[in-house]
Each structure stands twice: as C-alpha cells, then as structure tokens.
C-alpha cells in the first residue's frame, strides 16, 4: 500500500506524471490518466450512448489501490447513459488493460451497475472481451464465480435481470472462460466478426477458441455483425423495441408482391422471408438467430409503427419448414423473449408438421416439440397468426397456440391457400395406399400413386371450408393481411407488468 506522505515521489506508471501535492489536482490528474486508458472500451460506450449522457461509475477504481496504479479503471469502463433519451446501463471490458480480465474490483463495479439496472428496470449492454478471471488478482476472489455476501454479484444480477429488462452482450474480441460466462448470461449476444469465444483447459494450456460464427450456428450468439459500429446500431435498434419507440409505420415497397409469393403449385417451396418483409413496416426487421435452425425465422420488427416479434416457418429450408428440435427451441425462446418484454407476436405458419424420422428423434424432437407449445400457452402477450399454406398434425399449434383456454390467439387468419388436417395428404396416402405404393414398379410410379391420392383427397375449396368451419377468424386475401393485423394491434396498449413474468430461457 502506498504511503500517502511520501506519495509525491510516485510517478504514474502510464502517463509518467508526477503526483501533485494539491488534492484537487491529484484527482484531475488521476482522472486524465484513467480517461487516457481503455482505448478499446471507451469509444464503444461513446458510440452507444447519447453524447454527454454518460455518467461513469468507478473511473478511478484501479487494478491496485496504489496511487500510481497502472490499470486504468481496472480494465472495465462502466456507467449509466442514454440511448435517444432512454436510460441504459453499459460497461465495456478492455483487452489492453490486464488482458481484459475480471477482477474482484471491476466485478464489484459491474455488480453495482447491475443493481441499478435491476432497481430501475434499465436495460444492460455489455461489451465483452478478454481472458476471463484475473489469475494474479491481488484482491479476494472475483465474484463472477465466488461470492461476497449481501449484494448482487454479476451472474446473479444478469440472471435476475433475465425477463425483467433486456441484457445484451456484444462480443468485441477474443473472450475466455468467465468472460464467456458473462456474455452468455445476457439474453441476447451479438458477435463482432473476428471475435472468438472459448475456454481454457483445467490446469492451463492452450485455450480452445471458436469464432462467433460457430457459436451463432449453435444458437449461443444471436447475430454476427461486421464491426463495432454495426454492433452498436444493432443494439440500439434492438433496444428501441423494449423502449417501445414507435416507427414511421411505412408500408414496404414489397407489399405489392405479397399476393404473388406463394406458388400455385402446392408442393413448390417459396421464401417465407419475402412474406415477412412484405407485411412488416418498411426497413423495420432485425433478424435474431439467422444462422441457427434455418427452418424457423425470427425477427423483431414493426407493424403500423408498433414494435412486434415475428416468427415464421421457412418452407425453403433443408427440412421444408418441418419443425425439428432446433427450430422448436428457437421458436420457444423467441416467444419467451417477446412475452417477457411485452412485445406482441405475429406468426406466419406454413409447415408440414413436426419433423419425423430417426435423425429427428435422436435430436430429441419427441421432447423438444413441446417447448414452443408450452411457451405459447404460458405467454400473455397477444398473438396474431396467419396460416399461409400447410397446417398438418401438431405443427400449427407450435406457431399459433391452441384453440381455447390461455393460449388463444387474438386473431387467427388464413390465406385462401390454406390446407390442413391431422396429417399431410401425402402421409394419409401412404396409410391408405401403402401396399400399392410399396409394390409400385418404380419410385416414380410410387410417387404418382401417392400424389394422385393426395390430389384426389385435396379439398379444392379448403380456404372456404376454413372459413365455414370457423377454423379461422377470417380468411383474408394476402394483401389485406397487414392492415387487418395493424387494425387489431392498435387496440392493444403496452403495459409492463409490475413483476417479472418469467426469465428468458437461454436455449
């Protein structure tokens, strides 16, 4: 510990500045030295928050308690700022200061900030990089895994925030061990291209690092962006949904195409992303999990200026929109996220059912399939659902909930192209014509028998029947869909419940 009486002999190890004898000047100098540190972290925070809005916590908190400390802000810049006037807690690790490691002191600082986020229900944005827990920390164990009593530690705080206020991690550089734990403790993880996440073997040795793109494939990173600037604007766009910021409500230029996207041939796939783009407000979509489970699309976006979440089957995907374990998980998590943060849900449904077969079973579809059903059942935000084409088996329930009780959609629409049943027509053909199909002279002949039966069984007026049986609240033309949903959505008012509904499942 530095001796204050003789402190005038100390030089700041970074700036080389000699300690002033004036206490006021000492602080001015120490601040200047701290501000000069963390060259990676500070620009990120400056980019994120409104100019002049940042109130920093623990600027002077150093690696050591020494007056001539060499670890500016202990490698973690943190405080409270505003994004377009909305308060946000933000902190950034800096890999240039003690390798961006987590220490008792910088985690105590972060714990304090998370406390502010919890008590005020402010969102949190963390810029994460670095080598994990600091191995030579001279202080007691870092609370990222060990604990000091009677206050939120970092993992606690982030777990507590889950479902209460959004937390976003931006992975800005190579991140190891406890740094990864911090990132994945956030609801949403954005990776900057070039950054990696990984772990260190027990007892040390070469760390295993994998690029954020790999983690995105697995669903541990929700979006990969090109650079810091793109990450910051991604986060700002994301958080404006939580802030409830209205959009301009402009209809997309692509809306004119909406009636021509679904092919006349009922077996031809199409790109569901075009449907979502046509119906949503112009330039309003922010895709989550684009690299994961490509059979299920999830976006935040706006309709008539109101922030909503869209989820949709993707017929143009390897499993033709059939819901497999990964797609079920992706949908369930998205529903939980939107429900927790009070964003209404809009679904576009076209699936041949849940995925079947030995591979899908080994992946666990028989259990995973129930997750979106449960998430939809337990949600309370309104759901507006559009059945576009296929609705077979239990598949549509995963997208539009059940008929009655808690899960009923506010509005259940279909397009004239709807077709539905307990199982697909082709599946029914196999049950009825199994023998003929098996004994067919060629695969082509087998397919012809199947397709002829399916065609024979097809309800040529299934759209009208969907309306007659009151299976849907209305059967609408594609071009009417947008206005119809907006009309009902406008009558809903966003009120955040006083207590947390539920945390957001990371998977």
């Amino acid at each position: 510990m530095a001796n204050i009486d003789s402190s005038s002999t100390f030089l700041n190890s970074r700036s080389g500045r000699q300690l002033s004898e004036d206490p006021r000047q000492q602080i001015i100098d120490a601040r200047a030295d701290a501000w000069a540190g963390c060259p990676r972290a500070r620009p990120r925070i400056e980019g994120l928050v409104d100019p002049g809005s940042f109130v920093e916590y623990g600027l002077l908190a150093g690696r050591t308690s020494d007056v001539d400390d060499d670890g500016p802000s202990d490698g973690l810049v943190g405080g409270v700022g505003e994004i377009d006037g909305h308060p946000v807690v933000t902190a950034a690790l800096d890999a240039t200061v003690v390798e961006g490691t987590l220490s008792e002191r910088n985690q105590r600082k972060l714990g304090k900030l998370l406390y502010l986020a919890i008590t005020n229900r402010w969102p949190v944005v963390l810029f994460v990089e670095g080598a994990g827990a600091r191995r030579d920390d001279p202080l007691p164990p870092p609370p990222i895994v060990q604990y000091t009593r009677a206050r939120w530690d970092v993992l606690d705080g982030l777990a507590e925030l889950s479902g209460w206020a959004p937390t976003v991690a931006v992975v800005t550089g190579d991140t190891l061990d406890a740094g990864v734990a911090m990132a994945v403790a956030c609801d949403t993880v954005v990776g900057v291209a070039g950054a990696s996440l990984g772990g260190t073997p027990e007892g040390g040795g070469q760390s295993a690092l994998r690029p954020v793109e790999d983690h995105a494939l697995r669903g541990d990173v929700d979006a990969v962006v090109d650079d810091d600037g793109a990450a910051i604007s991604w986060v700002q766009t994301y958080l404006h949904h939580w802030f409830g910021t209205p959009g301009d409500g402009r209809t997309s230029d692509r809306h004119d195409t909406v009636a021509s996207i679904v092919p006349d041939n009922r077996r031809r796939p199409y790109d569901m992303a075009r449907v979502v783009e046509a119906v949503a407000d112009a330039d309003s979509l922010l895709e989550l999990g684009a690299r994961r489970a490509k059979g299920m699309l999830t976006y935040l976006g706006r309709l008539g200026g109101i922030p909503v979440g869209f989820f949709a089957n993707q017929p143009r995907s390897p499993r033709a929109g059939a819901i497999d374990a990964a797609a079920a998980d992706k949908a369930a998590r998205f529903v939980e996220l939107c429900d927790a943060y009070e964003l209404p849900l809009v679904s576009f449904v076209d699936n041949p059912g849940y995925m079947v077969g030995p591979d899908a079973e080994r992946e666990g579809i028989a259990r995973h399939h129930a997750r979106p059903l449960s998430a939809l059942h337990h949600r309370t935000v309104p759901l507006y659902t559009v059945q576009i084409r296929k609705a077979y088996g239990l598949g549509p329930f995963a997208m539009s909930g059940y008929g009655s009780s808690r899960g009923m959609p506010t509005l259940r629409l279909s397009w004239p192209s709807v077709e539905s049943g307990g199982m697909s027509l082709e599946g029914a053909a196999y049950l009825v014509k199994r023998r003929e199909i098996r004994e067919a002279s060629s695969p082509e002949e087998a397919r012809r028998i199947r397709d002829d039966y399916a065609e024979d069984m097809r309800d040529v007026a299934s759209g009208v029947r969907a309306g007659r049986t009151y299976s849907f609240d209305d059967v609408v033309l594609p071009e009417e869909t947008r206005e119809r949903i907006i009309s009902m959505l406008r009558r809903w008012h966003r009120v955040l419940p006083d207590s947390k509904k539920h945390p957001v499942d990371g998977r």
């Binding site: 994990g132 406890a178 129930a370 337990h378 009780s405 199947r450 069984m457 049986t469 945390p503």
Partner: protein
C-alpha cells in the same frame, strides 16, 4: 325403477370389461403386457378406484351415422398410498389406442382443480386416423372459453401438479406429446416414442424403419428422452408409485449401514463412485435415480433423509470427472425445476472438474463430438433456473468445483438463491485453479464438517423448513412449468 333399464345398463357395462373380450385380453397377455384395466388395478390402491366414462361412446366419422363403444382407454380417480391420483390408460387393442381427447380433457380439468397427480399410460398412434377430409380437419378456432384442451391442458398441469407417463408400447404423435409434457416418463424395453410412426416416416422420408430403429426406448434412455427404463409394465407401475411417494414425507427410516463410514467412500486417489456416497447419506434404500444412462457425469434422483423427501443433484466423478456438458446441464435444469415445482428440497453434492462444450466433429460421421473446455447458454440457463427457484438447497462441496460448476449445480451462492447451508468436507479443493476464479476461499462456506456428520446436519436443517402441504395450500398459481427438455 324399471329393472330392465338397470339390467341393460349393467349388460352394457359388462361388455366393457376384460372378461367380455377374452380374445383381445389373450392377445395383450400374449405380448407380455397388461390390459388397460389391469394396469389401473395394479397402480391404484385396492377398492379406491372411481371410473369415468365407463360406457362412453364415440361417433367415429363425425357424421352421426352410428355410435360405437369407446374402448380406446379407461379413466379413473383413485388413490396411491392413500393419496388421490388420476389414472388413465389407452387400450392398444382398440383401434391402436387412439385417445378420445375429450375424456382426457375431463381428467385434466379435475387434475387442475384439485392439484391431483396424473398417471397416464400412453401407447398408441396419436389421435385416431380418420379420413383426411373429415378428420381433425381445420383446427377449430375456439372451444369452450377457458376450458383446457388436451395439449394446453397438459402444458397447464406442468409445474402445477405432477404428471407421470408410462409408455410400454409404440407411442407416436399426440401420444408422444402427452409423454413430453409429463414430468416423469417411464418406458419399457421395446417401446418407442416418436413424433411420427413408421408409416408417417415412410411417407415423409421414403424410408422403412422398425419402431425400435425409429425411436426406441433404449435410444431415449441414452439421449434423455425418458426418465426411467423399467424392465416391464409391473416394474414401471411400481416405479410410478414410488415416484409419487416422494411427494409426501414419511416417518424417519433407518440410516444406510455405511452411513457412519461415508468418508471412506470418497477417494483422494482418483475418481470414486458417487452413488454409494448418496446412498450412505440417505435413508436406507430410498434413492431413486432418474435418467441413469443420460448425461452420466451428473446424478439426479429422489431420496429421503429422516423420512423427508429430497432431490439429489450430484457430480459423478467416475464419469468424465463429473464435468458438466450440455446434456448434464439439461439434466440438472429439468430436475431443479421439477423439485422447485413440487417443493422437494435439494441436496447438492459437488465434485466436478469443470464445464465443457461439445461440437460436431467434422471428421467423424458417427456423430461423435469434440469436447472443449468452456461454457455456453446450456450452463447459463441452469444458473437462471436456480436464481428463480424458491425451494431450498443444502450444498455440500466434496472435492473440486472448478470453473462454473458450482453455479450450474447449486446456483449463485448469493442473493435470491442462498443455500440453506453451504457446507464443505475437508477434501474440498481450495486455491487458484482456473480461469474462473483465482482463489477459492474456505471462508466462503458456512461450515466445514466431518463427512460422517453430514446426514444429521442435513436432517436438522430440513426440519426447519415449512411443511410442504402448507406451502402448497398457500399457492394460488404455479411457480413455472417444468421444461420438457
């Protein structure tokens, strides 16, 4: 009353009984199985059963052309060890055991209102195959407002009252959903649980598979699709009864013969088997392990200490040094949610080398994984689950708790989830070990104890907890559903 009417009624009822259909019964017995009614009789306490819908009939094509007796299943309310349980069984001899959803919905309503556990025998092919044009058809927009239908009803029960599924045959589509939504799934060898049966698979993928190749119980046992593989239906029913018994405390049972020698079961010399340690800690012969063949580096199961039910979460140092991969995290997560829902306190025994992640191995076509040190969202979600649980936990650190393993097994030891007591044995590893912490401070635990004291210590702590029945009675809503995965 006109005696003829009573006789007619009794005659109709008699036709529903096993005695009236010897051929069907012989077929069931020939397959080594019990009939639907025999299953229920074996499950429930004698003379406790009350039947629902004994002569229910269905209009098979919905066209009013004729009603036929609904023999697809039988439904009862009765007791197990004196506690009310709803029991239902499909009947595979009747048109493939297709369920009459309305009947199950009725039982779900009862289970919801009274918080009665349900035991469902589900073998069959989902809702009855019908002509596609008149079958399930378009999903109806609404039923009676607020009334549960089959799957939303099962979702609603999850976490509110225990549900047990026994699958002893092929179980596909809707039947698989009922199993998926159940808290506890018991299967027998040769059974299968899948989203679509072989004909559906043939239609969708053009491949011919046997039920076992498609989704056999043996596969599910390893991949976590079921909680228990029982040798046969008798054992499955006994397991269901045993599972339900942990919802209630009993009189204190005898300690395990090895209880005093527990310290000797832990080796300083290398990996040791945690199962005997658990057994030595619990009342004699009360450990019921779940998901035994799935994620074997952690152990989960129920047991009793001085008669009080506990849920045990433990590292298994014998397997991968007790490392926690995605599957192990899933196993812990679901078990913690289950215990939290039904107020079963947790006893957590920690001795783990660390957390690992698994990645597909591009060089191996057999699906084997590359395992690397690290954490991901699978680990984090357990931390979040612990953060939100309200049931108490006693944590015992036995050896290593490297990386984030203590958090994954026991939650953050701070704030909302502080353990009832955080204990360590003298074998606990301290000091700088890994990239998660630089020091493990022995002062961070509430007490370091002689292993032989552990059982008594936990028993005394549990005695301070409120009575489970009182806690249940005070709840007006469930805490959360139990995640199906």
């Amino acid at each position: 009353m006109n005696e003829q009417k009573v006789n007619e009624l009794n005659a109709v009822k008699a036709r529903q009984l096993d005695a009236a259909r010897p051929d069907a019964v012989a077929k069931v017995h020939g397959g080594g199985k019990l009939t639907a009614r025999e299953r229920i009789a074996q499950l429930l306490d004698p003379d406790s059963e009350v039947e629902y819908g004994s002569i229910a009939a269905v209009d098979p094509d919905g066209m009013g052309r004729g009603w036929i007796a609904e023999q697809g299943g039988v439904d009862f309310v009765g007791t197990v060890d004196g506690h009310t349980v709803i029991a239902s069984s499909t009947d595979y001899t009747d048109r493939g055991g297709g369920y009459g959803a309305a009947r199950l919905e009725r039982l779900i309503g009862l289970a919801y209102q009274h918080r009665w556990p349900m035991v469902l025998f589900v073998d069959g092919g989902g809702s009855r195959a019908r002509h596609p044009r008149v079958g399930l058809g378009h999903i109806e927009t609404s039923g009676p407002i607020g009334r549960f239908q089959l799957f939303d009803g099962m979702a609603e029960l999850s976490g509110w009252t225990p549900t047990v599924a026994i699958v002893s045959g092929p179980s596909y589509a809707g039947h698989a959903s009922i199993a998926a939504f159940s808290d506890f799934v018991i299967s027998t060898p040769g059974s299968s649980i899948g989203m679509g049966g072989p004909p559906m698979v043939e239609a969708a993928l053009g491949i011919t598979v046997t039920p076992n190749e498609l989704a056999g119980a043996e596969m599910h046992e390893v991949t976590g699709g079921i909680d228990l593989l029982a040798a046969d239906e008798h054992e499955a029913i006994a397991a269901a009864r045993r599972y339900l018994s942990y919802l209630h405390d009993t009189d204190p049972g005898p300690a395990h013969p090895e209880a005093a020698a527990i310290a000797g079961l832990v080796s300083d010399e290398g990996p040791y088997d945690m199962v005997p340690v658990i057994e030595a800690l619990l009342d004699h012969d009360t450990f019921m392990e779940l998901r035994t063949a799935f994620a074997r580096s952690v152990l989960t199961g129920f047991g009793r200490i001085d008669g009080r039910s506990v849920g045990v979460v433990a590292s298994q140092p014998l397997v991968e040094g007790g490392r926690i991969d995605e599957s192990a995290a899933v196993k812990i997560n679901r078990f913690v949610e289950l215990c939290d829902s039904y107020h079963i306190p947790l006893v957590i025994l920690v001795d783990s080398e660390g957390c690992v992640t698994s990645w597909p191995n591009p060089d191996e076509l057999d699906g084997s994984a590359i395992v690397e040190p690290g954490v991901n969202r699978y680990h984090q979600r357990v931390v979040t689950t612990h953060q939100h649980r309200r049931v108490d936990a006693v944590v015992v650190e036995i050896g290593k708790a490297r990386g984030m393993t203590l958090h994954v097994m026991a939650g953050s030891l701070n704030a909302r989830t502080i353990p009832l007591q955080h204990l360590a044995w003298p074998t606990k590893e301290i000091g700088h070990v890994d990239g998660y912490s630089n020091l493990r401070n022995v002062n961070a635990v509430d007490d370091v104890i002689d292993p032989a004291e552990t059982r008594t210590r936990i028993a005394r702590l549990l005695a301070h907890l409120p009575d489970r029945v009182a806690v249940r009675a005070s709840e007006t809503a469930k805490r959360h559903p139990v995640d199906t995965w």
